[in-house]
C-alpha cells in the first residue's frame, strides 16, 4: 500500500468512526550501516522501515496509536486503539490539530546524490581509515567500534485541517572508538564525523585527531578531591547541555516539574550566555522545516544574554501557557505522544580560544568527557554527579591527564557561574553544541 493511499483510507475511516479531527504523521526511513573490523566488512545492514502515528479527537479527547504496518488492517488497529485510548483519558483537551503555518521554510536537508553511493569505494575508504589509525602510533591497541551510516528519510504531517507537508532528510555519519595502551594502562576515545556529502570527509584529519586525542589520555591518574575552577571542553559541555535541555521544556512547566516556571524574562544565567535552538542550521543533525505537529520551525534564542527568553513548546504547552508555538513538538521513537524536543541546540560562542580560558587558572581542571549522564543527572533538580576525565591545569597550562574523578554540581548554578565562553563551537551527535566554557569552582572527587 502506498502512503498516500493509506492516508486517504485512514482519513476517510476516521471521519466515519466519529473522530472530529485527526492527524497522521509518518516516517519512512532507509538506513545503510557498515561496520569494519580488522580490514574487512564485519557487518552490513541495509534496511527500510515505516512508522505511522495517528491521533484524533473523539468526544473531545485526544487518542493516540502507532503502527509499523503499511497495510489495510493497520488502519483499523489505529482507529480502534486511538478511540479506546481517547475514551479513558480524564483530561479533556481542546483540539490540538493545527490549522497550518502561513509559510514553511525550504531547507537543504536532502542530498540526492546519496541515493547512489559507490559502496565499494566507501568500503575501501573505511578500510584505509582503520589501517591508518592503527599505523599512526604503536600504542594504538584496538579499533573497538567503527561504523559508517547513511540515513535517508522522508517524513510528513497531514491532518483534517488540510495541513499536508513533507520533507526529505539525509545524513552520513562515521563513528569510531579506539583504545590505546601503554605500560598496562588502557584508555579509549571515540570520535565522529557527519555531513551531507562524503567529499567533505578527510581520512588523515580524522585519523590524526582520534589517535592524538586518545594518546594524550595515557598516563592518566586521579587527583586530590577539592573545589577547582573548571574549564569544560566544548563537547563535554555540549553533553551536559544535552542532558539538561529538558529544563527548557514547556511541557515540564505545565506539569509543574520545572524550576524555570515563572522565570521568563528573568536572568537565569551569566549575561554572556546565549543559547539558541536553530532548526534551520545548515548541515545540522536535527534540521527540519516543521515539527511532528506540522508547525513551521524557526530559529530562536532560549536564553539571550543570560535572560530566559522562551520555553520550547508543543502545541499543547503553548496553549496552556498562552505562548506562541515554537515548532518543538516531536515524537520520540518509543512514545506515541508528542513531547518537547530541541532541534539543533547550542551555546553561542565567544571570542576567546580554549587556551585563553585556561591561561589565568592557577590550579584547575579541564574536563574533556562526562559519563553516566543518563543516570547521574537529575533534570528536575539540576543536580549532577558524573564520572569524568580531563587534564590538570597548573599555572595556566595543561600538565597531566586525569581519570577516575567525578565532577558534581547543579546545572542551574553552572549557568549562572559561567565566567567565559570560548570560540570553538562543536556539536555532538545529539545535535547539541557548545564551545569550551570556564565555570567558577566546582567539586571534584578523586583521591
Amino acid at each position: 500500500m502506498t502512503m498516500d493511499l493509506f492516508r486517504e483510507e485512514l482519513f476517510k475511516k476516521a471521519t466515519e468512526k466519529g473522530f472530529t479531527d485527526f492527524e497522521m504523521s509518518y516516517l519512512l526511513g532507509d538506513t545503510l550501516d557498515i561496520d569494519v573490523f580488522n580490514g574487512s566488512v564485519d557487518s552490513y545492514t541495509d534496511a527500510s522501515t515505516v512508522t505511522i502515528d495517528f491521533r484524533g479527537t473523539f468526544n473531545g479527547k485526544m487518542g493516540y496509536a502507532t503502527t509499523e504496518k503499511l497495510e489495510a488492517d493497520a488502519i483499523d488497529f489505529l482507529l480502534e486503539e486511538a478511540k479506546n485510548n481517547a475514551n479513558i483519558l480524564e483530561t479533556t483537551e481542546e483540539s490540538l490539530i493545527f490549522e497550518g503555518s502561513k509559510t514553511y521554510p525550504t531547507l537543504e536537508t536532502y542530498n540526492k546524490e546519496l541515493e547512489e553511493l559507490d559502496i565499494e569505494s566507501i568500503i575501501e575508504m573505511l578500510i584505509t581509515l582503520e589501517a591508518k589509525v592503527k599505523s599512526l602510533d604503536s600504542r594504538v591497541k584496538n579499533v573497538v567500534y567503527y561504523t559508517f551510516k547513511k540515513i535517508i528519510s522522508q517524513n510528513g504531517v497531514a491532518n483534517s485541517k488540510d495541513v499536508n507537508v513533507d520533507q526529505a532528510v539525509s545524513q552520513l555519519v562515521i563513528y569510531m572508538s579506539i583504545s590505546v595502551e601503554e605500560n598496562g594502562q588502557v584508555k579509549s576515545f571515540s570520535d565522529f564525523w557527519y555531513a551531507n556529502e562524503l567529499e567533505r570527509f578527510d581520512v588523515d584529519t580524522f585519523a590524526n585527531n582520534i589517535v592524538n586525542k586518545a594518546i594524550r589520555k595515557l598516563r592518566s591518574s586521579s587527583m586530590q578531591s577539592g573545589k577547582y575552577p573548571i574549564v569544560f571542553e566544548n563537547r563535554a559541555f555540549a553533553s551536559l547541555l544535552d542532558t539538561f535541555s529538558p529544563i527548557f521544556s514547556g511541557e515540564m512547566v505545565v506539569k509543574k516539574l520545572s524550576l524555570l516556571e515563572g522565570k521568563i524574562d528573568t536572568a537565569i544565567a551569566n549575561e554572556k550566555v546565549t543559547i539558541i535552538d536553530d532548526p534551520w542550521l545548515e548541515g545540522g543533525l536535527s534540521s527540519t522545516a516543521f515539527d511532528s505537529e506540522g508547525v513551521a520551525t524557526f530559529t530562536k534564542p532560549v536564553i539571550k544574554d543570560g535572560v530566559l527568553a522562551t520555553y520550547l513548546h508543543t502545541l499543547h504547552s503553548a496553549k496552556m501557557l498562552e505562548a506562541v508555538p515554537t515548532g518543538n513538538g516531536f515524537k520520540s521513537a518509543s512514545a506515541s505522544k508528542v513531547d518537547v524536543a530541541p532541534t539543533n541546540l547550542y551555546l553561542q560562542g565567544g571570542e576567546l580560544s580554549k587556551e585563553a580560558l585556561i591561561k589565568d587558572i592557577e590550579t584547575g581542571v579541564l574536563i574533556t568527557s562526562l559519563s553516566g549522564l543518563h543516570a547521574g543527572a537529575n533534570v528536575i533538580s539540576g543536580d549532577f554527579s558524573l564520572l569524568s576525565e580531563g587534564f590538570l591545569i597548573e599555572n595556566g597550562e595543561i600538565t597531566r591527564p586525569i581519570e577516575q574523578i567525578t565532577i558534581a554540581g547543579n546545572f542551574f548554578e553552572v549557568l549562572r557561574n559561567i565566567e567565559t565562553i570560548g570560540n570553538d563551537l562543536s556539536f555532538i551527535l545529539d545535535a547539541v553544541g557548545s564551545p569550551s566554557v570556564r565555570v567558577k569552582p566546582m567539586s571534584i572527587s578523586g583521591e
Binding site: S43, V144, V186, G446
Partner: protein, 460 residues
C-alpha cells in the same frame, strides 16, 4: 507464523547462497502505556511493531537487513540482495524445519489485552493516593503501567524453527517532593515477564509510600561528601554495580574483539574469593528472562564468576564463532531492527555468609547506598559509574543522616576485588539495558554487601 514456513524456507535458501548460515527473526509486538499525572489519566498510547530481520553469516562477517514489508516478493528481493553483499560461498539450507518445542517457564494468567483498562487505571490511582497522602511535601506524582506482548518467530538455515510469546508488565511510580527551590524524586519500577496477575500480587500502597518516602528524605538530605571510602550497597537493584562494572565486559560483544579488560582472563582469579556472579535467563517470570534467546538458543544459567575465578563469558552465535565457543543463550535484541549480540538477562551476585549487622558494624565512616539508579561502563578500560538515588552516611557502624547526589565510580576489574563482605538474601531489581543491539529488559541483583573502597563523587 507457521503458515509462513514455506516462504521463510525460500528466503533462507536465497540468503544462504551468499554465506554459510542465515537466520530470520520475525516479530509482532503490541505495547500499551497508561500514565497518570497526579492521579488523572493523561496519556494512553498503543503501539504496534511489526517486522522481519534477516541475517547472513559468511565466516566471521555478517550482513543484516530488516523490513516491515513481509510480502514474499519483498522478502526474496531482500534475501538476494543480502546474499550478494555477503558474497560468500554458497551454503546449504536445511530441507525442513524441525520445530523446537519447549515448556513455557513464564506462563501467563491475564494477558494485557484482556485486562480492562479501568482496572489498570485503578492501580495507578491507588498509587497516587498513597504517595500523595504520605506527606504534604509530595507535590506531583507520576504513575505509569506499561505492557508488552511480543510474539517472535526465529528460524534458520540449520532447520531451527521456534516461536515464543513474551508478556511483560511493568509499573512505574515517581513521587516528587518539592520545597521552594528544590525538587527531589523517589522512584520505584517493578516489572515481570508476566501478565497482570503480577500487579495484583503487589502491595501497591506500600510501594508508592516507599517512593514518596525516598523523595521526602532526599529533599531534606545534605549533599553527599566526596572521596574514597567504604560503601555498603543495599540488596536489590544495587546489583547494577556488577552489571556495569563487570557484566558488560563479560559479553562476547566486546570480548570477541579483545576490547574488554577481561578478554584474556578465563580461568583466572579476577574477583574477591567470596564473589560468585551468575547470569540466568531461565528464572521463571523474571523481567530479564526468556525461554529462548533472540537467536532461538535456549537460555541457561551461566555461572560467570565462581569464588572469584572467571568461568564463563556471555556468548551469542556470531561472537561465539570468533571465540571458538558455544553460545550461552545470550543473543538478544531490542526488536527486529537490530542484529542480536550477547547481552545479559538476570545478573546477580550470589548471597554470602556475612550478616547485615556485621557489615554495618565494620565501617567507621562510609556511605550506605540504599537505592541505585543506572550507570554505564567503557568495557575496553573498565571505567564505570553508577548513580545513587538514596544514600545515608555510616558513622561508627551505624546508619546516620541521609545524603544525596552521589555517583560511585571506579574500574570494573578493581571493584570486584574490593567486595569483601556479602550477606545472604539476594533480591533483584528491574531495568532497561542499552547497548549495540538496542534496549532490553534486565534484572540486576545482589544481597547487601560491602565494597571496601570506592570513589564517591558527592558535592560536599
Amino acid at each position: 507464523m507457521k503458515s509462513l514456513q514455506p516462504v521463510f524456507m525460500e528466503v533462507l535458501e536465497e540468503a544462504v547462497k551468499g554465506g554459510d548460515f542465515a537466520e530470520i527473526f520475525v516479530e509482532e509486538e503490541q505495547n500499551t502505556a497508561l500514565t497518570c499525572l497526579n492521579g488523572k489519566v493523561e496519556e494512553a498510547t498503543s503501539n504496534m511493531e511489526y517486522g522481519l530481520g534477516l541475517r547472513v553469516y559468511n565466516g566471521f562477517h555478517s550482513v543484516y537487513t530488516y523490513t516491515s514489508d513481509l510480502s514474499k516478493d519483498n522478502l526474496l528481493k531482500m534475501a538476494r540482495q543480502a546474499a550478494i553483499v555477503s558474497g560468500g560461498a554458497v551454503g546449504q539450507a536445511a530441507d525442513i524445519f524441525v520445530p523446537y518445542v519447549f515448556t513455557d517457564k513464564h506462563p501467563v494468567k491475564e494477558y494485557p489485552a484482556d485486562v480492562n483498562k479501568e482496572e489498570k487505571i485503578d492501580v495507578l490511582k491507588r498509587a497516587h493516593k498513597a504517595g500523595a497522602g504520605y506527606s504534604d511535601e509530595i507535590t506531583q506524582t507520576r504513575t505509569k503501567i506499561t505492557d508488552r506482548d511480543q510474539q517472535v518467530c526465529i528460524c534458520n538455515s540449520e532447520g531451527l524453527f521456534v516461536t515464543d510469546r513474551r508478556i511483560y508488565t511493568r509499573l512505574m511510580f515517581e513521587m516528587i517532593a518539592s520545597s521552594k527551590n528544590e525538587k527531589q524524586s523517589g522512584y520505584f519500577a517493578p516489572g515481570r515477564h508476566q501478565g497482570f496477575e503480577f500487579v495484583r500480587a503487589l502491595d501497591i500502597e506500600e510501594l508508592a509510600k516507599e517512593a514518596a518516602k525516598t523523595a521526602v528524605t532526599m529533599l531534606h538530605a545534605d549533599v553527599c561528601p566526596s572521596g574514597k571510602m567504604p560503601v555498603v550497597i543495599d540488596k536489590g537493584f544495587g546489583g547494577v554495580i556488577f552489571h556495569e562494572a563487570c557484566g558488560h565486559s563479560l559479553e562476547a560483544t566486546s570480548v570477541a574483539r579483545k576490547a574488554s579488560v577481561f578478554h584474556d582472563k578465563l580461568g583466572k582469579m579476577i574477583a574477591s574469593p567470596i564473589l560468585t556472579a551468575i547470569d540466568d535467563g531461565t528464572i521463571s517470570h523474571a523481567w530479564g528472562s526468556t525461554n529462548v534467546d533472540d537467536e532461538g538458543t535456549p537460555t541457561r544459567k551461566n555461572v560467570l564468576i565462581e569464588n572469584g575465578v572467571l568461568k564463563s563469558f556471555l556468548v551469542d552465535r556470531l561472537n561465539g564463532r570468533r571465540m571458538g565457543v558455544e553460545p550461552t543463550g545470550s543473543g538478544r535484541r531490542q526488536n527486529y531492527r537490530f542484529a542480536p549480540t550477547s547481552r545479559m538477562n538476570n545478573t546477580f551476585i550470589a548471597g554470602g555468609d556475612d550478616t547485615k549487622e556485621d557489615i554495618f558494624a565494620s565501617i567507621d565512616y562510609g556511605i550506605y547506598a540504599k537505592n541505585m539508579g543506572g550507570g554505564s561502563v567503557q568495557p575496553a578500560t573498565g571505567d564505570f559509574n553508577f548513580a545513587v538515588l538514596e544514600a545515608y552516611m555510616i558513622r561508627n557502624g551505624k546508619i546516620a543522616e541521609p545524603v544525596r547526589g552521589a555517583t560511585l565510580i571506579g574500574k570494573g576489574n578493581k571493584i570486584i576485588k574490593d567486595i569483601d563482605m556479602i550477606s545472604e538474601e539476594v533480591v533483584c531489581g528491574q531495568g532497561m539495558c542499552g547497548s549495540v543491539s538496542g534496549s532490553v529488559p534486565v534484572d540486576a541483583g545482589q544481597a547487601l554487601l560491602r565494597v571496601k573502597e570506592i570513589t564517591v563523587g558527592g558535592r560536599g
